[in-house]
């Protein structure tokens, strides 16, 4: 008898469900507990996420498949794909059969969706290394973003290294999460911002300089708005200083 496993949404929870799928009953599917639709035909159990069991699965993937595959499923876990748990489950089932060979297969129906989804996530994370804008609020730097995927954790190390002497907050408004960093050490936390934080005295000045620079740098004879929106989709623009300001200019 197969079973639907419901987990708490954490990566550990997902790996624990995969553990149970091997050592208890086979999983029909894995779903987040909050959004699960109960049905008459498949029994379901709620899984308590267990860091020890999760670590065993984590190590097994690393040892028996590859680090690359481990990274890929982590990226997929961060994606907004609604069937991501089942994609990961099927991929791992194949992976434990084939071993590291699975990394060389691209067009297999269980592998391709993983590659495509992971690419979307890593692409968006890479994009936001550039498309993030900090404002100086006297005490710390504050940035807000609304990404499609939950990429916050992929940005943290980069900015913690880059702005090692600063304190900053990177706020994912969509998911009410934030990276909070105090000079090199960072942690991920639930976060919501009610009141507007006042800018430092110089903030407006530099924003204006940047917006002016941004409008000036484009060459009129080469104007290509379509190409621009290919690189900077409309949905990102309201958090970008230069697009907000240059509309007013």
């Amino acid at each position: 008898m197969k079973m639907d496993y419901l987990y708490d949404g954490s990566f550990d929870g997902l790996l624990t469900s995969i553990y149970y799928s091997y050592y208890e009953q086979r999983a029909q599917g894995i779903y987040p507990e909050v959004s699960y639709q109960f049905n008459m035909f498949t029994p379901s159990t709620v899984i308590q996420s267990d860091p020890v069991l999760a670590a065993r699965v984590y190590d097994a993937i690393d040892r028996k498949i590859s680090v690359y595959s481990l990274m890929q499923i982590y990226y997929v876990y961060l994606s907004n794909n609604s069937a991501k748990e089942n994609l990961i489950l099927k991929y791992l089932q194949l992976g434990f059969q084939l071993g590291p060979k699975i990394d060389s297969i691209h067009s297999h129906p269980e592998v391709l969706p993983i590659r495509q989804t992971a690419k979307k996530v890593s692409f968006e994370a890479e994009r936001f290394l550039g498309l993030l804008r900090f404002t100086d609020t006297r005490n710390y730097l504050y940035a807000v973003l609304e990404p499609d995927h939950n990429i916050l954790i992929l940005l943290a190390d980069h900015f913690a290294d880059r702005l090692a002497g600063e304190r900053f907050i990177i706020h994912d408004k969509k998911r009410s999460l934030a990276i909070i960093c105090n000079k090199k050490d960072w942690y991920l936390s639930d976060f919501s911002k009610e009141a507007a934080i006042p800018d430092s005295e110089t903030e407006q000045f530099y924003q204006e300089l940047w917006a002016k620079y941004f409008t000036g740098i484009s060459i009129e004879n080469r104007k290509n708005k379509k190409l621009q929106s290919h690189f900077v989709p409309q949905r990102y623009r309201h958090n970008l200083v230069e697009f907000r300001k240059s509309e007013l200019l």
Partner: protein, 442 residues
């Protein structure tokens, strides 16, 4: 005794606030900087925007108790209305210039607003933009104000402030001023990540026509110097790990396309020579945007040859990643690139006797020669076929563009093109069809 100790403590604290003040001079500077900084930035960014290079790639650096780092894949921060990426703060130190190059917007005889930044203004602006994550670093170019040495020295000062005072580990690209003293180039190169000298024209004749004060040997001298010092630096670093890196992200250059009568053949030949002789990281092409009037220049109404520029970049990619030779891309019989087809298809159509290739047997080099197969998909094919035969249905999933590739391949012995693999027929099948335009009633 206690008293003197307390005094000492007080003294240290005073000293500390003083240091902080030096490191964050923003508040004090704002009074000085806001006076015309906006206007200056507008003028000096305008003068620099025709330089196309904007890469921030080629070097990995960590932050060591300062500000900034670099990623070797390069990071784009925004895209301007012409669709070009903005990665570095691209500005001129000054747009005063003693030269009078015909194609240049900053040439001596032009009556345009002129301005200069002080090295400290540029450094402060860079840091302030950088910590807000507007930019990945600095691209510093300059008009030649008094003499090449004077300008190069000022460029060095900017780098000196950024690297030694602010401990900035972000990306810096500087232009080398042709004719500057090699010692100056050397000491700037130890602080910069990438350096470039624009040769602007592929041949001596067209350079003479458009930039009478410049000659190719003068432009090649610093390129040669940088190339030699980079090789020397690399061999030194094999023995002594802590030798300071010299221009770690390599050098690049730029050629203007469409200002002179030069053919694509001479441009691509020149490109190949530059890659082989100086091991350049990149050669950029800049479609000429008419900014000046002159007897040797295209009319002001000419639009920039964007398609030609695009085809040249495609050819450049073939040289760098697909191990093509310049002779294979263009030749004396057809010195210009085909506008209808990309250079790889053109080459394939001229060499139909080599095709169709069997996907499951062709070598990596052969796979790269198939139109519609790129570096990524070729690597995927190589890896996946070790585990089993690849069928035609797999190819699309692996990123092969079958629309083009199908005429040039067989898969497990089958040919899927539908028409005989002959040059004329395939050419006809691949010719782009003009898109139907919705007619307007009014």
């Amino acid at each position: 005794m206690w008293d003197s100790h307390a005094k000492k403590k007080g003294a240290t604290r005073l000293y500390r606030t003083y240091v902080c003040f030096i490191h964050y001079p923003v508040l004090e500077l704002i009074g000085v900087m806001s006076m015309g900084t906006l206007e200056k930035l507008a003028v000096l960014a305008d003068g620099a925007k025709y330089d196309v290079s904007c890469a921030s790639s080629g070097v990995n650096k960590h932050n060591r108790d300062g500000i900034g780092n670099s990623k070797s894949f390069g990071i784009c921060h925004t895209w301007s209305a012409d669709g070009r990426c903005v990665s570095l703060l691209k500005i001129l130190l000054t747009n005063y210039c003693i030269y009078n190059c015909n194609y240049c917007v900053n040439r001596n005889q032009n009556d345009i607003p002129r301005a200069s930044f002080t090295p400290r203004e540029v450094a402060d602006l860079t840091i302030q933009f950088y910590r807000r994550n507007y930019i990945e670093g600095l691209f510093l170019s300059s008009g030649i104000e008094r003499s090449p040495n004077h300008t190069m020295e000022r460029i060095y000062q900017v780098l000196d402030i950024l690297r030694h005072e602010y401990h900035f580990y972000g990306y810096i690209h500087v232009k080398v001023i042709p004719g500057a003293d090699p010692a100056l180039v050397n000491k700037t190169g130890l602080l910069a990540d990438r350096m470039s000298i624009n040769i602007e024209q592929p041949t001596e004749q067209s350079l003479k026509l458009l930039a009478p004060q410049k000659t190719l040997p003068v432009l090649f001298a610093p390129m040669n110097q940088i190339h030699h010092q980079m090789t020397q630096n690399a061999s030194e670093r094999k023995i002594f790990r802590h030798v300071q890196k010299f221009v770690p992200a390599g050098q690049s250059t730029q050629m203007i396309v469409g200002a002179s009568k030069d053919s694509d053949l001479s441009i691509i030949k020149a490109t190949e020579t530059l890659y082989n002789r100086f091991q350049l990281k990149r050669v950029y092409y800049s479609a000429y945007v008419p900014v000046n009037e002159g007897p040797n220049l295209p009319a002001l109404s000419t639009s920039p040859p964007l398609l030609r520029e695009h085809r040249l970049y495609q050819a450049d990619w073939l040289l760098r990643f697909y191990s093509f030779k310049a002779d294979e891309i263009v030749n004396e019989q057809s010195p210009f690139l085909d506008t209808d087809f990309d250079p790889k298809i053109s080459w394939a159509l001229r060499n139909m006797q080599l095709f169709p290739l069997e996907i499951n047997q062709a070598s990596y080099e052969e796979l790269l020669r198939i139109p519609g197969v790129g570096v990524t998909s070729a690597q995927r094919i190589i890896r996946q076929r070790r585990l089993g035969n690849i069928s035609y249905n797999h190819l699309k999933k692996m990123g092969v563009v079958l629309k083009r590739a199908k005429y040039f391949i067989t898969c497990q012995g089958c040919y899927y093109g539908g028409i005989p693999a002959e040059s004329a027929l395939v050419r006809q099948a691949l010719t782009p069809v003009a898109k139907p335009v919705q007619l307007c009633l009014f």
